[in-house]
Symmetry: D3
Subunit: 237 residues, 6 copies
């Protein structure tokens, strides 16, 4: 029934290529099917003004899409002079999600910026960015711990995200672009490896959904995030 022939509760093939670029403290090319996102983590000694002197660390994120990551070319945001509303919303989400999994006292007063740049898009880029971004973050923190700059591990539990939605009347896991563009209801579930909720964004455009359906989507999300968390740990070991 799904265009890709997947089961309702089956994710796309997922892979992590760590060390994809050499300069960043952590880097990872995540592939969720045909969605490919390059995630890099940059450690800096400065923090934003509002936490200066607090001893707390900060994690933030930026998101971008190469102009021809998509089926038709999109205008380059740097050329149009600003980041679009969708971009801003996504990068705020990524930052919030990753921060939820960070012990900011243990991190110490430094900032890690996670850049998520979509090289190829086929639906679910924000979830792939969070899941891959956490691996880049993990690798950067590993470096800090190895160097003795951080003593207690600030990342106790992985953070991963997966999309769920109602496609052709059925709740499905991990929508690809053909599903995403048809689904009247879809959203993103961000959770920890141990199954705690961090963020839920469910949205219907031109449609509505019931509490029963919401519960079914939540079940799918728990399954998906569980699988992703296992792969994240393996990739960043």
């Amino acid at each position: 029934m799904r265009p890709s022939g997947r089961e309702l509760n089956q994710m796309r093939a997922v892979s992590f290529e760590t060390g994809f670029t050499k300069h960043a403290e952590g880097s990872c090319l995540i592939k969720m099917g045909d969605t490919h996102v390059l995630c890099t983590a940059t450690i800096e000694d400065r923090v934003p003004p509002f936490i200066k002197g607090s001893g707390l660390g900060w994690v933030t994120a930026e998101y971008g899409m190469l102009p021809r990551a998509t089926n038709t070319r999109m205008r380059r945001e740097a050329a149009s002079g600003k980041q679009g509303g969708r971009t801003v919303e996504i990068q705020r989400l990524i930052g919030r999600a990753l921060r939820a999994g960070v012990d900011r006292v243990a991190l110490g007063e430094r900032q890690i910026t996670v850049d998520c740049d979509v090289l190829q898009a086929d639906g679910g880029t924000r979830c792939a960015s969070i899941t891959g971004g956490w691996v880049a973050l993990r690798l950067a923190v590993n470096k800090l711990m190895k160097a003795g700059d951080v003593i207690s591990d600030p990342l106790v539990d992985p953070v991963a995200a997966v999309s769920c939605g109602i496609y052709a009347g059925q709740p499905v896991l991990d929508l690809d672009y053909p599903e995403d563009s048809e689904a009247g209801v879809d959203g993103n579930f961000i959770m920890t490896g141990s199954g705690k909720l961090i963020e839920i964004q469910m949205s219907a455009e031109g449609s509505v959904f019931s509490r029963d359906q919401m519960n079914q989507l939540m079940d799918l999300a728990e399954k998906g995030v569980g699988e992703l968390a296992a792969m994240q740990k393996a990739a960043a070991a």
Copy 2:
């Protein structure tokens, strides 16, 4: 236990002052406690390029906050040369929410722009904007129907929104600013008057939540939206 002395499941006092400004096809000053938002609805005969000739209507929203709506003065967005990420995110949410309650065929090929401008803020401005925005929209559509420009009512069910969160360990309804700034978990539930879900945005910053807690928040939201919908209908009758 709540700073305001309210019950856990008690909303703030809500009022709607319709016709607050005279030029707009629909206008309404909504007050949710000390949060005051002026909502206006503007009807235009043009639609966005991507639906031109489709016969479908469009509803969109813009959001703003006066510089001194808040406790300390914020920089005027027009002066800083762009809308901040938070603003863009909120106005996209309002537009999506209102559109979910519109029969775009019945509306016909015209656009209604709902402007939500916060005159005074005390938490929950996006929920107040959606709830008050629907009233302004309703009034504008009433005018279209009275004039015979629209035959079948495109607004079958009110759209309303309320925030819920976990404050001091307890699930509470309709957070005000003192609660909002303390809550580790909070979010917005957008629903129809008949109890269907349109959008859920739950988010934890520096915290996590369980599925049980999620269910408790959903119960509160259903209660709150039910009360708001009744008031919306009365206000725009």
Copy 3:
């Protein structure tokens, strides 16, 4: 002869609702007929760089118009990415006008920002902004004096403004929008409560005027400002 039926030298009904918003140090909703402007005054301890360390205070103003304050919706300035020429010109005028009535030594090294946001427009918004802005400023200064932060009153004489113009060949006081859009010659007179001149901006578009006419307009302005100053004092007492 005037569309509103007013006498040539008769102003619209004027009212001041002080304390319209709760966060600002001073706030006032001024209504001059159907022109409604929300004015707030914000006190900050910093001053602009060019007077740092001088011991002098500063008063500045910003001006905005809600998109649907007018008969047809105007584009939101924050969305278009900059303040238009008309906005910039008006807010510079308001700031200059208010500063002319301030003893900057008595004020001490602090800044007061007066925000004037037009909720509904029907001509004469810049004059209403100055007149209402002075009341907000007065209320904020009252607070400083009550707290003992300022000893000698820096506001010795009210500042008020009124428009005058030549409509249908006759000099008239306080033009509303229907008059304003027809008048070939019109302008604004900013004066102190004791009748001194602060600023005159008379302008003809597609027309000219004589010195005699200029003198008649000045007589009207003196009458109007006198009445406004009395109301300002009463409102901010």
Copy 4:
């Protein structure tokens, strides 16, 4: 008493060098003392959207200052990404002033853009721009009339401007920079060659003025504009 040794009612030396650049339909370098402004007039067949098809012409103006036209270098506006408030205000004034002297029916449906670029500044640049801009406009219109594109002369009376102010307690004509930076009250009078008023902008910063003083300044302005108009006619003959 004046820093330059001029009489109270004496203007600076004024000259017009027409044809200063070769591409523009009209061009003129005006020198008012050490204030030098290059004015060019460009004729285009298009008009702004709001008068398309009306048969009426349009005259507009833009103003700029070279970064080192002033005593200390100012930031280049093109580099800072926008025109400052002062620039926008001035170019709106120039456009309004020149339009007041144009018979837009006689001009026909075409636009003339007058660019005023200050090469060297010593006070009074907006007045010099208007006065020199009219000469550039006159030269461009001469070309249209010679070519038979315009039959009846759309410029019946010159438009000129001069600054007046109160310096060291005395009303003076045509303030240079040392006077301008000291004067508590000053402004600009824009008039026709035959003595009609087009625009008055009188402003006090940190001071006030009386109606008597206003009358004295008006007398000076009439004298100054009369002299300028005679020179304009000679220059553009």
Copy 5:
């Protein structure tokens, strides 16, 4: 003598991975040592206004660098609101270079946009962009020819580019970052596969060079471009 141990006239290892992304009509990841650039070519049926209806085609380019492509993180251009001077200069160069190798009559009235995005930088990104960009362009044109949309091949000769400079007093070929940051004189040579010159940009900062040195650099460039052209042909065969 060279930090990398290369001979003076030896290029870095070069590879082309074609089809790196699936949506673009042509795509190629070029690696010149540690400089990795993703190049995509997008075919569109529209052309810029200035050649509309001419029957001629157009090739243009855009250039970007991921924030952490470099040793320290650079600010994202989309976030800072504009493309920097260096970016604009480079993308104009790439477009000019590629156009020089295109028979625009044979291409027909369509536009090909070549996006060059640096995933990892180690000197020579603009040369890698041109060389890899040509391969993406070649692949896109192959598709047009296969489909019969283009009959005669518009790309008769490859376009490639290589940097040369004077490092530690010696002329060297294909500078990497450690050399580039030390060299007082360096530049880029863009040539066709058959050895014709398209563009030369030699530049000294804080130094000068002689005509003899210029000739030596030209010899190196001819060698380098010859090698690159052979590889380009093989990659896009």
Copy 6:
């Protein structure tokens, strides 16, 4: 054969009017035929952050064109909100070129900004800007030396620039606009008075050139720069 009747190796008439504006530390109006550029040099005691405390000086440049410097009016860059790609490229070139002729140790920790504003354009504006800019720079440095602020002359050799290209199949020196718009190959040579090379920018659009032709152009450039350097020395003596 050339539109102007000049010999292949003949430059246009060149003149320098020093002291054209009074405020700048150095100023010069250079005319190369009908290309007129006003160059001013501004001395400031501050330097860019990246050399603060180094004891080294800095020279930078900005470039602009008045809207009607050209045959048809161009949009004012300050009004369009940014400097175009061509402008940015040119001003970076001018700065780099002038810096190459400066002993930054001898200059001491101060910055000189050279503004080059094109009053009238007829081809070759960037070369005229460099050549005239050097004269303005020389005059400003003379002032520093006279005042004893600089002891050893930081400008040992003039910097001048000239364009060369292939017009109608022939190598020609100093292209004017009619030649420039026809030439398939052209570029700029920046050299010192003693014949050393600083920068070469040769570019073909829709064409290619041979090494032989490159050598002929270089011969022309040497002749042209030699003549310019002699005139520069005379002008700034």
